[in-house]
């Protein structure tokens, strides 16, 4: 292809082997008025006592997607981990109006919070275990399809087969997750979290390392999830990705929110400057 004649879209089609990419997700039903997630004055210190997140407050409405963008190393992981309850924090977190206990991921799960961490292979999934086991993991933690200590794997197998079809995962239930491609692994992770029917989903860098087809597919899944009423918090350093799907964008710099925009008012240049630390 000659450089001057080729567009980004042409390249995408060529990379997908002549297949049209999934249409960009722009239309979503109006978000509800109920607050799915409220974060108030959140502050987080790391294991060395350094303040990584400072006085962060925002909310996510049911059925809406809120993005938090920032250059890597500005407190994103501490922010998402603290909201989910993976580390201690000060400040308050409410899910569906109920206050969450700090440092208790199981309590967060029970209240309807799902979390897709950034590192899908070492934090989100267990590569050495099968797709079926990875899909069932959090539901078993919640005691679903369990009779006392007994796990009903037949029920999980039925559900897993449906999940593979719904999310178009190229793989089998008895495959090790480590054998899947990055895109398919991310779909498994999203299928597992969405299977919990959460009130709120936190997802960090959802498309990092994925090819163009898998990226479109993952963004489409997130959009579909929001349309079913789940409030979604997307934390990413990929501004284009966040602007494409989010209704509201907050900019995180050195652990603080330094700017907030709605989709209509979002100016990529201005957000880019804020991400780099410019306050002007």
């Amino acid at each position: 292809m000659r450089q001057e004649k080729v567009s980004e879209r042409d390249l995408a089609i060529a990379m997908l082997g002549g297949i049209e990419p999934v249409a960009s997700t722009q239309v979503r039903s109006a978000p509800g008025s109920e607050e799915a997630l409220v974060v108030k004055n959140l502050a987080v210190r790391d294991e060395h006592g350094v303040l990584r997140v400072k006085n962060v407050s925002f909310s996510v409405k049911a059925g809406s997607i809120v993005g938090v963008v920032g250059v890597a190393g500005n407190g994103q992981k501490h922010l998402t981990d603290a909201i989910y309850g993976m580390c201690s924090r000060s400040g308050e977190v409410y899910v569906g109006g109920i206050k969450l206990a700090p440092a208790n991921p199981l309590a967060s799960l029970k209240l309807g919070m799902a979390y897709v961490p950034e590192d899908r292979f070492s934090l989100g999934l267990v590569p050495n275990m099968t797709v079926l086991e990875n899909l069932a993991m959090k539901k078993i933690a919640l005691g679903m399809h369990c009779t006392g200590p007994y796990v009903n794997w037949a029920a999980y197998r039925r559900e897993g087969t449906r999940n593979l079809e719904t999310y178009k995962v190229e793989g089998r239930l008895n495959m090790r997750v480590g054998e899947l491609s990055g895109g398919n692994a991310q779909k498994v992770l999203l299928a597992r979290e969405f299977g919990l029917h959460p009130k709120v989903l936190i997802v960090a860098s959802p498309t990092r390392g994925l090819d163009i087809a898998a990226t479109r597919s993952v963004l489409q899944i997130l959009d579909d999830m929001a349309n079913t009423g789940t409030g979604i918090l997307v934390v990413s350093e990929d501004l284009d990705e966040v602007l494409e799907i989010a209704d509201e964008v907050h900019v995180l710099f050195r652990g603080e929110i330094v700017g907030s925009f709605t989709r209509a008012s979002a100016d990529p240049d201005r957000i880019g400057l804020l991400m780099g630390g410019s306050r002007s």
Partner: protein
Amino acid sequence: MISLKLERRPTSIKSVYVAGIPVVGAVIGLLIAAVILAVTRHNPFSTYGIMLQFAFGSLRGVNSTLVQMTPLLLTGLAALVAFRAGVYNIGAEGQLYIGAMSASGVALALRGQTPIVIIPCMLIAGALGGVAWALIPALSRVLYDANEILTTLMMNYIGGLLITYLIFNSDSYWRDLSTSFARSYPVGKTIPINANWPALGIAGFTLPLGLLVGLGVSILVMLWFRQGRGGFFARVFANSPLTAQYTGVRTKRLVFGIFLASGALAGIAGASQIGDFAHLLDPSSLQAAGYGYAGILVAVLAMLNPLGLILSSLFLGGLTNAGFALEGPKFPNGTVGTLEGIILFCVVGMLTLVNYRIRIVNQARFTPLKASKDGSTTAGVQEKSTFSRVRFFSSNPFGKRD
């Protein structure tokens, strides 16, 4: 230059190959051992014949093998439960000592009671003894993140010294002081006859109670790991502790529970030594046998599979029994130990191939480029095909551009 590279298999291999790999290892071990036997002027065929005869070839041999198998199965279970959950309890040895001490203490204290009272109490006491000895490393790990390999190993020495003290260096409750002979040559009190564990006889085979307990627990452990919530979380934790935390697993509670379960199983092995076989606390025999450490080997041989553990403990029990049968003037202890060691080494070594594969790498392909006098680049030593590839990439791979 051609070299061999060990690399992780990208996909899992079929179960039939997994089962075949240790068998191939055993055959290789037997072949290597045959060379050593031939060098030391022993006929390998007749030696292996004797080993097979004494281990599995007669009723008496099988019964002796089952005796050896019993503690190995129980300590193997203790190691398996812990290792499969990623908790490295090396302390089955010490936990077995304390289990034996507790069970013999209870048996002596309940003298005069019926077997139906004494035997369950001995089992419980053995398990609790093992739990008590595992408690210190468990708390150290959970509260202070102390390395359990070191703490459990240290506790083994303390346990060994404690039972030695009870019999050899003190007038303890466990020591027999009833005769002047016993006072001169320290020995433990023999437990009452009512405290001797019964054995199940089937078609001439004698299955000690400890073995039956071990077989039953193996099945329960298999079901727990396959169908149980706790077993599932233990596997998640073993594979990825952080993912377990993200999944909502209470990891500290899990590690603590696993530690105590492992300790209880090792303690039951100690109780079985008293109730089934020794009938008194004998520190020297217990420490010489090293069943706690051998249990780790049994668990590894079984690839942490509870049903495989039955086979591996039977195999190692048979090998140990055959070793006893061989020992004599013609076969010094060292030769027997070497034979056993080579066979086990080959089996365990071959197990590496379950998760890893050996690949032949032709390093000529990666020979660094050398610049020649005319400025072009060529590889130093290479095959013809490699040469053409290097030349291709040293020129403009994109050809003419518009």
